[in-house]
């Protein structure tokens, strides 16, 4: 990142290549496929344009996810992306159903649906912790909440999803 701050284009390409799968994975799980594509580009533009504000003492991952997460929130506020996410999840699951190596449809549908059904404040911490293995302190920085709140939200997210599963089993 220090080289990017000096305007080094190959360094930017390396950075983008290194963080591409993780960032895109985060965005897709956070806002769905369609919005993720826009936000992926927007995040990198923000990284470039805000490079002077980056403090090299901070972890790059925390800064990157913070920008991405703020963009998700901003977009959600303005476009009510939650509804769109639920729709794109259905589209994505139908699209994935054609892949031979894909896990069973109902299992993936379940988890997409359950993640989408979580309130944003729980979904963002669960995705950062489970899929990206960010430590609680880093999640606190990304989301802008105290570390204790991260822990309680994580447990609440797991219990909520667990509760949904139990309810569905009871109904079945």
């Amino acid at each position: 990142m220090a080289r990017v701050q000096r305007g080094d284009e190959p360094a930017l390409n390396e950075l983008l290549e290194r963080w591409r799968p993780r960032l895109f994975g985060f965005l897709v799980r956070r806002v769905g496929d369609v919005a993720a594509e826009d936000l992926f580009q927007e995040t990198w533009l923000r990284v470039v344009r805000s490079r002077d504000r980056y403090d090299p003492k901070r972890r790059f991952s925390t800064w990157l996810f913070q920008i991405a997460n703020n963009l998700c929130r901003d977009r959600g506020r303005r476009r009510k992306v939650e509804e769109g996410y639920k729709e794109t999840v259905r589209e994505q699951v139908q699209h994935d159903a054609g892949r031979l190596e894909a896990p069973p449809l109902d299992l993936r549908m379940d988890i997409h649906r359950r993640l989408a059904a979580l309130p944003e404040r729980l979904r963002e911490v669960l995705i950062l912790r489970y899929y990206h293995q960010l430590p609680e302190a880093d999640i606190a920085e990304v989301v802008g909440i105290p570390r204790g709140t991260v822990k309680s939200r994580l447990h609440s997210a797991v219990r909520t999803v667990r509760g949904q599963m139990a309810d569905e089993e009871d109904e079945a």
């Binding site: 895109f24 799980r29 580009q41 990198w44 533009l45 344009r49 002077d52 920008i67 994580l154 797991v158």
Partner: protein, 170 residues
């Protein structure tokens, strides 16, 4: 559920979140406690579900498009935040202008009606010259107010766009 069970179940959640197995004493406890066993089984099912979600793949075309845009911004962007401010500025200005333009005909019609009816009302009471001056002053004040509202919009839009950028970029 007893307090030791609460602790065991919390630690099981921590283990799930860290992609780790529950600690041996907690696993042993779960074998003897129906509540904790049920909790453990539910977490195992949840883990299967979370792991079953495929890793999203970014298309090569989008990756290349992003790389080009970011590289362009890196080369061009001698003044940071200039471009995002411009994008946000346009959106904010449109958001302010849309309702104002919709209301503008009403405002014009209202002021024209005020001028006309007060002119009629005061025609016999006030000298014509004074009435003309008062009418012109009213029209000038009304036009000035409208100009002030529309003229301030770019400044408000710029401030709002800047605020949004600062909200998003740490």
């Amino acid at each position: 559920m007893s307090d030791p069970c609460a602790g065991v179940q919390e630690r099981m959640i921590d283990a799930l979140l860290a992609h780790a197995d529950a600690a041996a004493p907690d696993r042993a406890h779960a074998e003897t406690c129906a509540d904790c066993r049920e909790h453990r089984d539910a977490l195992l099912a949840l883990r299967s579900g979370l792991d079953a979600a495929p890793e999203p793949e970014l298309s090569a075309a989008l990756a290349e498009r992003t790389r080009r845009r970011a590289a362009d911004a890196l080369l061009r962007d001698t003044v940071p935040h200039r471009a995002p401010l411009a994008e946000g500025f346009g959106r904010e200005l449109l958001r302010l202008l849309s309702p104002a333009l919709l209301l503008l005909p009403l405002v014009v019609a209202w002021n024209a009606a005020v001028l006309f009816y007060f002119g009629e009302l005061l025609a016999g009471l006030v000298p014509a010259a004074l009435l003309s001056v008062a009418g012109a002053a009213y029209a000038l004040a009304a036009s000035g107010s409208v100009a002030l509202v529309f003229g301030s919009m770019p400044f408000v839009a710029q401030r709002e766009a800047l605020r949004r950028i600062q909200e998003v970029t740490p």
